[in-house]
Structures are given as structure tokens and as C-alpha cells.
């Protein structure tokens, strides 16, 4: 029982990342009709926003420590962050420690700007082109973005730790009456799950309870009629592209402490997120969220030793297997709408 609870918890944080990326993907598809293969790259850029902001906070000047030597035997040059000079060592260190949560503020405008530039500069030229063209151009863009990141930050992963207070893990099992160490769960993954829930809730509330959201939903249902009413739906859809980029970016920012960011992390998530979108139903926001968590949890269960001893290799194919079964039984996905990608 404790193993099952543990894998559900594991699946929730993995599912959170899938759901956040898939939410943005399906939002772009539902509004603009574009299959955006560069969406994983936006997740990766979000993680590197956290890296960049951390580096900005740790910008330093060097002080020579005559008592120690470097690898060449010269007096050691010690980096002293400007934050320590500005706010004192204690406060400066605390600000640096909270770099990842603080970088949310930095990343939102950056990601929206990247999203809008991407949409206006490239993707809008492919609205009327076949989906195959859109996939090729966005996939190409994703490769360009990841190579740019690699040139700037290198190929190795870059450690981006969570604040000290969120390091370590919670003995969840003890709270549920199990033995100590039965269900251990890292604090930051709990934070990630909570953060994902807030972002998903905020996106739904925005679309459901604001006039802007209502127009966007109307545009998703019937773009032509909304245009005939004199509403500039294109402008709103561009803003939605920016928002979708911000959602993917935020997912990346908060994911940085879970796995050290590297230039190909977007590609690692992209294919799975597409499967999530297809399983959830193209263009369906609740479907993307539901499928994200469902596939995340199933993936965790499939990696249990007990399951793998019965079905070797199942952990590598479970998501695709489930996708096949769902698409055979429900061709439009779990919550797909009639008419989407069926013309």
C-alpha cells in the first residue's frame, strides 16, 4: 500500500510538469491551430531563466585571499557577490538562496516577450500552411533555441538548488500511520505540485471568468464569427501565445531544482507532452491536465520493480501503450471535441 501511495505521489509531480507543458501546447493549438513543437524549448528556456537570474544574483567581484592558493599555486581569488556588499552577508546570502522562487518574477515578462516575438516573427506566417509545415518549422526552431542555449551555457547540467528550507524530504508515511521511511517525499516536489495546481487554476479562471478569456474561448469555438463581430481575435490569440509561453516557462523555472537544467531538457519533455495532448484530446484544456496527471502516475507505476518483473521494459513504453489503447477506444482522446483536426 505504501509503495502505491509513493508512486502516486511521484506521478503527481511528473504529471504536474506534463500537464503544465501540455496545457500551453493545447492552448496554442486551440486558439491558433498551430502544432508547436518548440513548446518544449520554452520549458527549457524557463529553466534557464532560473539559471540566469541565479547568476545575476551571484555576480561577484574577486578578493585575493593570501592565505590560500589556487591550482597553479597563485594566491586564491575568492568571489564575493555584490549582493553581500549591498545587503550584508546574511541578507545577501538569503536573497541568493531564494533565487529560484524569485526568478518567477524575472521569467514572466521574459517568457511572454519570447512567446510574442516567436508568434509574430515566425509562427504567424505558417497559420494557413499544413500542420506538417508547422511541425517542421517549430521543430527547427526548437533545435535552434537549444543550440543557442548550449552555446551560452554549455552542454553540462547546471545545478540550481531550491531554497535551503525546501531541501530535504518529508516522511509522509508517518503522517498516514506507516513506518518511518516508508513514504519519503522531497519538499520541493510538493511545492512543485502545489505551484502547478495554482497555475492551472489561474489559467482556467482567466479563461472562465474574464471578458478576455470569454472572447478567447469564443474564438476557439468559432474564430470566423468572432471576427465578424468586429473583435480583433488575432491580437488576443497572440497574447494567448505569450501566456502559453509563460506557463511553459514557469513550469521550467520551478523544475530547475528537481533536475539540473541542461540544453536538451525541452526535447525530453516535448514528445511526452504531445502524447499527453493527444490522449487528453486536441484543443481540450481539461483533457490536457487530466491526461498529464494520468500518464505521469502510470509512468511511475510502470517503473516499480514488481511491475517490471512481470512486464520487462514496460516503464519505457507504458505512455505510448496507453495512448494507443485510448486512441483506439476514443479516437478524439479523453476529452477531445468533435471537428478538431478532423477536416
Amino acid at each position: 500500500m505504501d509503495a502505491i501511495i509513493l508512486q502516486i505521489l511521484n506521478g503527481l509531480d511528473k504529471g504536474s510538469a506534463y500537464a503544465l507543458i501540455a496545457l500551453g501546447l493545447t492552448l496554442i493549438f486551440g486558439t491558433l491551430g498551430v502544432v508547436n513543437f518548440a513548446h518544449g524549448a520554452l520549458f527549457m528556456i524557463g529553466a534557464f531563466c532560473a539559471v540566469t537570474f541565479s547568476r545575476l544574483l551571484t555576480l561577484s567581484h574577486q578578493v585575493v585571499d593570501e592565505t590560500r592558493t589556487d591550482f597553479l599555486g597563485n594566491p586564491l581569488k575568492v568571489d564575493v557577490p555584490y549582493m553581500h556588499d549591498l545587503f550584508g552577508e546574511g541578507t545577501g546570502a538569503a536573497i541568493i538562496d531564494w533565487a529560484v522562487p524569485l526568478s518567477i518574477l524575472f521569467s514572466i515578462p521574459v517568457m511572454i516577450a519570447i512567446g510574442v516575438i516567436m508568434e509574430r516573427g515566425l509562427i504567424k506566417h505558417f497559420y494557413k500552411r499544413p500542420h506538417a509545415d508547422q511541425i517542421l518549422v517549430t521543430f527547427g526552431l526548437a533545435i535552434v533555441l537549444q543550440e543557442v542555449i548550449k552555446q551560452v551555457f554549455g552542454a553540462n547540467p547546471i545545478p540550481t538548488p531550491a531554497p535551503e528550507v525546501f531541501r530535504g524530504s518529508l516522511d509522509f508515511g508517518v503522517l498516514l500511520g506507516f513506518d518511518p521511511n516508508a513514504i519519503i517525499y522531497p519538499y520541493w516536489r510538493l511545492v512543485y505540485f502545489g505551484f502547478a495546481a495554482v497555475i492551472i487554476g489561474a489559467v482556467f479562471a482567466f479563461l472562465q471568468f474574464t471578458t478576455f478569456g470569454m472572447v478567447v474561448r469564443a474564438g476557439m469555438a468559432d474564430r470566423e464569427t468572432v471576427g465578424l463581430l468586429g473583435i480583433n481575435i488575432d491580437k488576443r490569440f497572440t497574447i494567448m501565445f505569450g501566456l502559453a509561453a509563460a506557463v511553459a516557462g514557469l513550469a521550467g523555472v520551478m523544475y530547475a531544482p528537481i533536475n539540473s537544467p541542461n540544453y536538451h531538457m525541452g526535447m525530453d519533455f516535448l514528445v511526452l507532452s504531445f502524447v499527453v495532448v493527444v490522449v487528453g484530446g486536441m484543443g481540450s484544456l481539461p483533457g490536457a491536465v487530466l491526461a498529464g496527471f494520468l500518464l505521469g502516475i502510470l509512468e511511475s507505476f510502470a517503473s516499480m520493480n514488481e511491475v517490471k518483473s512481470i512486464l520487462p521494459g514496460i516503464d519505457q513504453i507504458i505512455i505510448y501503450l496507453v495512448a494507443i489503447i485510448i486512441l483506439l477506444t476514443r479516437p478524439r482522446g479523453l476529452m477531445g471535441r468533435k471537428g478538431v483536426m478532423e477536416d
Binding site: 548550449k150 553540462n156 519519503i184 516536489r189 539540473s260 520493480n305
Partner: protein, 448 residues
């Protein structure tokens, strides 16, 4: 006066013969004027540096390339000479190799076997490379070694740690200076016994490919010989990024040690995840839970940040070594590039010098003469103490370092501290050891 009449049939026949002749890859033919593949004809000789310039190991590849450039500079008499001054052989004098100025071409392995073979083939066929060296993966090393054997050039392996490279996949034209998984296990096990005791239960997470399998087999055998019990061995997909679902069951398994048979991005992520799950803070079976990473790389350890602190592992070489050879290399490399070299850089630099020295001693670039000069060769002064290039499998035997993640690093390069220099005698094994069985060197191929 005679008149040549060219018929249509004759033209076709002549064309077909000429075309077939041109189509035969030059790699598999030897010019009648030359006794071996790519024999140098001018005043220069070309070496082929095949390293990952793109892909996940690009940073390691960049460090290898820096080391190669430094080696070429030293061979041609530039810089401070580096390890030429400490190398026990005094055959090299900074005047190139056998009087030929050293030039080089580079290829990108992308850490993919097919891409690595293609780039090596191109350097041999188009650029006339007489020796291929480099790489950061055992899969690539085995693939390129096979190609060099067919092509009749020497392959001086870069970073490759699988037993198979000089085990079942060994080749007469291939030579490895880097240590292997068996040596990691043999060096690490006694230290693990001293530090953590002999009554331990180990849980293995293993990258599901050739290197991971041999690493698991080696460390498992070594720790079981100590008295440790292996609770579980779990293979993880090479493309895995989040290891939480593999790490979560560890504490419930009864194990009190987690052994991560992972390298590169896998290692960074699995170690980070294991520390996040608080494994190192737990007490299991009345003992402190421990994590072991059998193959450590300083470049990779940097990606795991503070999570490497206190973790034991093994490494081929470390810049903090105080022997004259290591100090000379660190000084040359550090002065030129501003930071200390990695173990990948060290092994690549040393391999280039060893090749050049073998050519110089043999007095010929003929691959078979070079191989003969390397086989059974004893040398010193290159950073690992007295070393033997064993004739039976072309594996170097030398001291192995057991290292630990440093608690108080002074810089981003100061991540590992040497716990023990395990003497060469402790990591040696018979050429027919079961972990290395199944292959044969075969005969040297000079391409003649």
C-alpha cells in the same frame, strides 16, 4: 600514322572499369607506393581527433580537444613542453614525430556510434589521418576501434570505461590508457569496506547499456567479495531524466547503500534525485545510508553541485595529484586555458604523447610497428605512476584513484578530493578474466 577508333561498347567497358576502380573506397586499398594506410609523404603528419563537439558530452569533448591542441603544441616544440619533460621515455624532443611536423583534423562523434564512425572514416579517407583518438563513450570507442582496425590505422581510445573495450571487443589496432569498470570495483571495494563496513546491503541503479552492465557486474562482484549483500539491481533507461520513481522504493528495500552505475547526465540527475529524497539523512539497519558513484568525473560532478559532497567514487586521474608529471600537465594546461584539466583531457593528452613516442621509438608510422612498440611498454612520468601497456589486451595498468566529493570546495573545480591512490597491483587481472572473455585481439592491420 595510326588511328584509334573508339567504339561505343569499348567506351562503356573502359568507363565501367575506371568507375569501379574509383568507387573502391581508398580506405580499404593501399597505394602500391605506400606500405601502409596514409603513410606521410610530405613534411607533416596528420592526427585525427574524434571528440564529441555536439550533444550531451560536448563540454567533455571540448576539454579533450584543448588537451590535444596542447599535446600537438608540445610535440612541435611549442609552449613549456608539458609532460615531455617528465615522461620516462626521452625519445620525443619537441621536433614533431619522426621529423614530421604534427598537424591535426577534428571530427564530431556526437556521442553516437554511427556519427563517430562516419567522422573517423572521413578523417582517414579525406584528410589522411594516420591515427584516430578521442571520444567520451564506450559505445563510440568500440565502434571507432572496429573501423580503425578495418582501415589499418591506430586507435588511441579517449574516455571509455567499459570492460568490453579491451575485453570482448578488443582489437589489435586499438589501445586504451583509461581505466575500466573492473578496476573501479577493485579499487573502490576495499575503501568502501573501511569506510562503511563489510555488513552492508546494496541497491544498484544501472544505466541500461554496455558500460552500465559491465560497471554493475564489476562493482557487484567486488562488493559481494567484501561481504556485502546485493538487494536489488534495477536497469534504468539511458534517456531517463527523472529518477524519482526508481529511487523512491530504495528505502523500503532494506538496502543501506545505493550504488549509482550512471555517468554523465544520468549520474547528475539520479544523484540529485537521491539526495532530494533525503536518502543520505536516513538510518537503515542501524547504519547511516550511503550513496556510491563508481565512476566520478569532475566535469560531471559540477552538474550535481553540492549533492556530490561526501560521495565516494573512483577516477582515472585528478589535477590535484602532486607527482611531477601531473604538476607539469596542470601547469601547462592551466596557464593556457585558465582552469585545471579534467581526467578526459589528461587521458587524451597522454595517449597522444604515447602514440608519438611509440612512432619515434619504432622509427616508423607503420601501424604494426607502432603497435609492437606500445605492446608491453613500461613507462612513468605521465601522472599515474609506473604504467604498463599490456600486450595481451592493449589495456594500461596503473594506479587508480578513489575520490570523495569535497565538503568545502575552494572553487568550482575543486570538487573532489583523493581518498586513496590504489596501487596498480590491486587492480590487475588476468587477460582471460571472465569479465573480459569472448574476444580476441586478432592481427594488426596496417592497411597494406
Amino acid at each position: 600514322m595510326s588511328k584509334t577508333i573508339l567504339s561505343r561498347r569499348g567506351l562503356l567497358r573502359t568507363g565501367a572499369i575506371a568507375g569501379a576502380g574509383l568507387a573502391v573506397p581508398t580506405i580499404f586499398t593501399a597505394s602500391s607506393a605506400r606500405a601502409f594506410t596514409n603513410a606521410p609523404s610530405g613534411g607533416a603528419v596528420t592526427l585525427g581527433f574524434n571528440v564529441p563537439q555536439t550533444g550531451p558530452y560536448a563540454d567533455e569533448g571540448a576539454d579533450e580537444l584543448r588537451a590535444y591542441e596542447l599535446a600537438v603544441e608540445h610535440l612541435n616544440g611549442g609552449g613549456d613542453g608539458g609532460m615531455l619533460g617528465t615522461f620516462s621515455s626521452k625519445a620525443l624532443e619537441g621536433t614533431g614525430i619522426n621529423g614530421h611536423k604534427v598537424e591535426y583534423v577534428t571530427g564530431d562523434t556526437q556521442t553516437k556510434s554511427d556519427a563517430a564512425r562516419a567522422s573517423a572514416k572521413s578523417m582517414i579517407e579525406k584528410d589522411g589521418a594516420i591515427m584516430i583518438t578521442g571520444g567520451s563513450s564506450s559505445g563510440v570507442a568500440v565502434a571507432v576501434q572496429g573501423l580503425c582496425q578495418e582501415a589499418g590505422v591506430i586507435f588511441m581510445a579517449g574516455l571509455t570505461h567499459s570492460n568490453d573495450t579491451t575485453g570482448k571487443d578488443k582489437k589489435a589496432n586499438g589501445f586504451r590508457h583509461f581505466f575500466n569498470a573492473y578496476m573501479s570495483g577493485a579499487a573502490l571495494a576495499p575503501v568502501l569496506g573501511d569506510q562503511y563496513g563489510t555488513d552492508r546491503k546494496a541497491y544498484h541503479l544501472t544505466a541500461d547499456y554496455t558500460w552500465g552492465w559491465t560497471q554493475e557486474e564489476s562493482i557487484k562482484a567486488a562488493t559481494e567479495a567484501l561481504g556485502w549483500e546485493t538487494v536489488e539491481t534495477v536497469k534504468t533507461p539511458l534517456a531517463q531524466t527523472d529518477f524519482s520513481s526508481y529511487i523512491a522504493p530504495v528505502l523500503n528495500s532494506g538496502a543501506d547503500v545505493l550504488i549509482l552505475n550512471h555517468y554523465g547526465g544520468n549520474m547528475v540527475n539520479s544523484l540529485t534525485n537521491a539526495v532530494q529524497f533525503g536518502l543520505r539523512e536516513k538510518q537503515v539497519n542501524g547504519k547511516q545510508f550511503e550513496i556510491v558513484v563508481p565512476l566520478f568525473s569532475r566535469l560531471m560532478a559540477r552538474g550535481a553541485g553540492e549533492n556530490v559532497k561526501g560521495i565516494l567514487g573512483s577516477t582515472n586521474w585528478h589535477w590535484s595529484l602532486q607527482d611531477e608529471g601531473s604538476k607539469a600537465f596542470v601547469k601547462s594546461f592551466g596557464t593556457k586555458y585558465g582552469f585545471p584539466p579534467s581526467q578526459a583531457a589528461h587521458t587524451c593528452y597522454v595517449q597522444t604523447l604515447l602514440y608519438a613516442d611509440a612512432v619515434q621509438r619504432a622509427g616508423s608510422f607503420d601501424p604494426c610497428a607502432v603497435a609492437e612498440a606500445l605492446e608491453g611498454y613500461e613507462f612513468d612520468g605521465l601522472g599515474n605512476g609506473p604504467t604498463l601497456y599490456r600486450a595481451e589486451d592493449h589495456q594500461c595498468f596503473k594506479d587508480v584513484l578513489v575520490v570523495r566529493g569535497k565538503e568545502n570546495p575552494t572553487s568550482e573545480f575543486d570538487l573532489l578530493e583523493v581518498v586513496q591512490v590504489t596501487p596498480r597491483g590491486q587492480v590487475e587481472y588476468a587477460p582471460d578474466h571472465p569479465m573480459f572473455a569472448g574476444g580476441a585481439l586478432g592481427s594488426c592491420n596496417s592497411g597494406a
